[in-house]
Amino acid sequence: MLRRNFLKSSVIGAALAMGVAAQAQAQAQALTVGANIGNVPWEFQDESGAFVGFEIDLVNEIATRLGREVTIENIPFNGLFSAVQSGRIDMAVSSITITSARLEEVSFAQPYYDSDQSLTVTAASGLTGLADLSGKVIGVDTGSTGDMWATEHEAEYGFGEIRRFEGLAPAMLDLVNGGIDGYISDIPALQYYSKDKPEIVVAERIPTGERYSIMFAKDAPLAAEVNAILTDLKNEGFLAATHEKWFGAAPEDTTSTVQVMDMPTP
């Protein structure tokens, strides 16, 4: 009898404890954000090892407004898609371009940055633009919009070969080594990267009219909530200020960094 009572009370106690824990978890459940750390100036580590960048500032502000803590998970760009779909992370940032193919599989909030592709070469190569690239080896990031652009225009510009890298750092190493002649990727990252490196130059802007946004699992309720917060952040000038902080200039009034936009639909 005594034993049974003990058992009973401990079962009830455990259940209560679990209930309390679950409640506490629901209240303070951290917002898990996936990001491809190393993607300057969007999300990268500073000397102290802390995650910093335009999109880190943005998700921190969004989390504050949602009343939740933030946990950043470092996930390679290609892994972000399955990570949001499987629910491993709540949302993903990494200068992700909204495309119609991606909208079939995932959801995006309204865009907050207008971007283009760019061609980066070494200063020593003497290459001045895409027109010089016939028969040359170019590098891209696997599965990026730069990869898609280069694949579509391979015949038009007569690229000798397209090599696909796992990010900016190895591609830049190979560019300086002479393994590749040019690198096609998002222009803001390359402008930021080449800023203090005279041996590397952004030779040409490739207009593609891309827009970045935050990615969610398909039709996640969180997407609409974050979309509404982005509207506030644009109206209050938070995004313009963040742009100025990381790019040293205010965004133009016509860009999606300033203009409130609709949530993209497939």
């Binding site: 760009f77 399955s82 779909q85 193919a101 599989e105 599965g143 990869d147 190493l173 190979d174 080594n177």
Partner: protein, 223 residues
């Protein structure tokens, strides 16, 4: 979006199938060339390790130990990204083959050495008594018996080499796994990864089951 739509999305699989097949071809090319080079180098290395004069034997032992200890990924990055500073510029294909066969040779050498050492001493003595030169003793007596012993572990090593080709993606080689991750980003759906996994299994299953069959057969013959 449930798990089937996300991971077993048939339209996505069909759409990305040609990309995966292209990747499979690259994987097979890298794998086969590395396996063949690894076998030849490994056999030579085993003979040097067993029968050459002291200094060479020591060098072979150092090589085998270093190559078995170094992570393949590190070796691959050194060959592709660091050698150009010394003026050696290998293509992604050559870098992948070099790294894989250098490491495979070390493992193969140890397998061959174990096989040769497993041959009873009497066989060596009998060959000597018959007046066979060391070369004929190896080619006609010892190696035919040793190879039978080493086929199952060698096949295991080949399977490992084929799986390790996936590391070639870090040197921009479009192998099967790389093509799958690329297809995954283009379609924003991870089904191509499952497609790649199925192809890997289909490719390696016959080799894996062959190892078991051979092990059973040789096991019987010994009794």
């Amino acid at each position: 979006m449930d798990i089937l739509d996300t991971f077993f999305n048939v339209p996505v699989l069909i759409r990305t199938f040609p990309m995966l097949m292209w990747g499979l071809w690259v994987t097979i090319k890298i794998g086969v060339v590395s396996i063949v080079l690894g076998l030849v180098l490994g056999l030579l290395l085993a003979l040097v390790r067993l029968y050459s004069p002291g200094v060479l034997q020591g060098l072979a032992r150092v090589y085998i130990n270093v190559m078995r200890s170094i992570p393949l990924l590190v070796l691959l990055i050194l060959i592709y990204y660091a050698l150009p500073f010394l003026g050696v510029r290998l293509s992604p294909f050559m870098s992948s083959v070099a790294a894989l066969s250098l490491v495979s040779a070390a493992y193969t050498a140890e397998i061959f050495r174990a096989g040769i050492e497993a041959i009873p001493k009497g066989q060596f003595e009998a060959s000597g008594a018959l007046g066979l030169s060391p070369r004929y003793m190896m080619v006609d007596v010892i190696l035919p018996q040793a190879i039978r012993i080493v086929i199952p572990p060698l096949t295991n090593n080949c399977i490992n080499v084929l799986k390790d080709t996936a590391l070639a993606s870090v040197v921009a080689m479009p192998d099967l796994l790389k093509q799958a991750t690329q297809a995954q980003a283009v379609a924003a759906n991870p089904s191509p990864l499952i497609g790649a996994a199925i192809i890997y299994v289909a490719l390696l299953w016959p080799m894996v089951s062959m190892v078991s069959r051979l092990e059973r057969r040789f096991g019987r013959a010994d009794r």
